[in-house]
């Protein structure tokens, strides 16, 4: 097994993903469609705008979930690498401790 990792950079990635997540949350597609109801009086579109909004909310929730999962797994990877590194360092330090 061989790997190379910069966990600080990984945590930066997590921050970026969190930032993207916030921006996706602020997209507000359903809100942007709201004026359609008044602009199209008597229309099916106006009447069904709630369904459209619900569909967009669900769609964006899916996108957010994917981002969250990515951020969570990157954070978990960074934590795990740090833990392994810590454990490995402690193990090495312990084994050389008796020589001092």
């Amino acid at each position: 097994m061989r790997y190379d990792v910069d966990t600080a950079a990984l945590r930066d990635d997590v921050s970026t993903i969190d930032e993207v997540l916030v921006r996706v949350q602020r997209l507000g597609i359903a809100d942007e469609l709201t004026p359609l109801a008044a602009a199209l009086p008597g229309s099916r579109c106006g009447a069904a705008l709630r369904d459209v909004a619900a569909a967009w909310t669900a769609r964006l929730a899916g996108t957010r979930w994917e981002l969250k999962e990515l951020g969570r797994s990157l954070a978990a990877a960074a934590d795990t690498y740090d833990a392994v590194e810590r454990a490995a360092r402690q193990s090495v330090e312990r084994s050389f401790g008796g020589l001092r």
Binding site: A9, A39, S43, V52, L60
Partner: protein, 590 residues
Amino acid sequence: MTVAGGSLTLSVRDIRASRPQSLVAVSRALEDRRRRVVVLAELVLWRRAAAPRWSGAASSAAADRYAVVVAGLGRLAASIAVAGQAVGQAAGRLEAAIDLVHRADRRAVDEGAWIDDDGRLFLPVRASLGHPALEAHRARLDELLRAEVHACLAQACRAAAETDDELLRALLSSARGATLAAGAGGGAVVLAALAPPPIASAAGGVSAQVFASAAWWRSMTDQERRRAIRDHPEWVGPRDGVPATARHEANLVLLARAEEVAWTRARETRRSGWVGNAAERTRADEHVAALQALRDVLARRDGGERLLLLIDPSALDVKAVVALGDVDRAAHVVTFVGGLSTMVGTDLRRYDDTFVRMRSEARSVAAGQDVAIVTWMGYDAPQVHEIVSSIDRNVLNAKLARDNAGALADFATGIEAARDRPAHQTVWAHSYGATLAGFASLRTSAVDDVAVFGAPGLPFSDVSRSALKPGSLNVLGAVGDDVFNYGWMVHGTPAAEVAGATRLSTFALKQAGSGCNHWLHPRSEYVDVGRTSVGHSDYLRAGTDSARNLVVIAAGRPDLRVFQGADERACTTTGPSLGTDPMSWPRLVP
């Protein structure tokens, strides 16, 4: 007026109250959101690719995860694009629907009428015009108004309802993950095309289909119109009611297709060389000649714009309609209909030459106003050989004239329906074409004035029994024109005897009042041969009184017409010329 659109309906009131500018704003906001999502996807990608700070099996797994997220953001951006484009396209459609309602409003107001929010047309109580023929004409104009208003409002409601349905579908499907097809650009069309109404002419009365076609064209956005011309030229080219420039563009595509078919057919018939297919060979060559004539005329660069308004190679002979001048905007539009033996291949160039001259004369008479002249060869004219070989297509039979009258009336009404401002429209009709124009005159149309020359007969005995305005029928008959003088025997009322028609001059003496009984002197000695038309095919010759009369009628200057006088009545009353030149031989005038 409302049109069903799914479970709800859209009314004229709804269309008037709608706000397409709000849709444009929504579309722009969605485009802004799409761009933001693209930026987010790029940001995620950039973070991943910025530096190779992580390698190993877990890194590869994370890369897969990144790919899924970035692809998801890409799809999200594409879905937002679908929604934005659908809303933008709907805005264009809605604007077109509002314009249609406004056109109906304007048409109504021009005639003193109005339309309420339910789409009902209210005509004013008209003051009496004092004459039954004028009242009848007023009623026909109201009938045209009703047909046009109904077509505009019906199409506005239909287009708005279909757009509403399509928009809802696009918004729901995009929210649920739909994206545009690969390769579709930023201006991709999301809403389905509005289907055109049928082209077929109505059996009688006002041609509602023409107004429906005009309304269909107006109900589309510019982008949709371009698509219709590109993808379905057969929807546009032959359709009366569509603007001439659009028809021309579509017909050029149809002309190229027709040429390909005609050349292939001509090559194949020549290759076979079998004596039995001589007729087929002739027909194929005639089609090629007709299409070549069209190309020649369309390519003329003598200052007059030519527009191809019909190309139909499916008939026995090629049918075509070619306009000289701006049919969509000229103040005066003339439609010429020819008679026996006219064919595109043999006659179009000649007519075009003649009409270049006559248009120039008409424009000078019309004092700055533009005049367009259309050569309407939109019917398969009877041919000489068919006098002995056909019953239905025989020039002695009115069937062809009757069957094609609707096409001529629809053409004229279509010109009017496609324009923003009405034109003064005249029909010039020669020989059998005059009989056809006579049948067309029984239908309510946008024709204002008719001039028939060398007419063998008309299907009515009194102008008040036609759909023409009183005083609008002009009759010209030349000395020695046996078709004009004797054609009535098979084609109804002699044109000269139709009550209410105005008989115009085709004849001039060198010295007015000198009479015609110059015993044993050839007529050419006392007749002004430059101004006098002789025989059946001399009406359009430059310098003749008949050509001048046609020009002033076309230019909307009936006050400049030269009427048939006593001298002319006396001098042109002769027996049959039987092919001899009535100018060469002395004749005793009865």
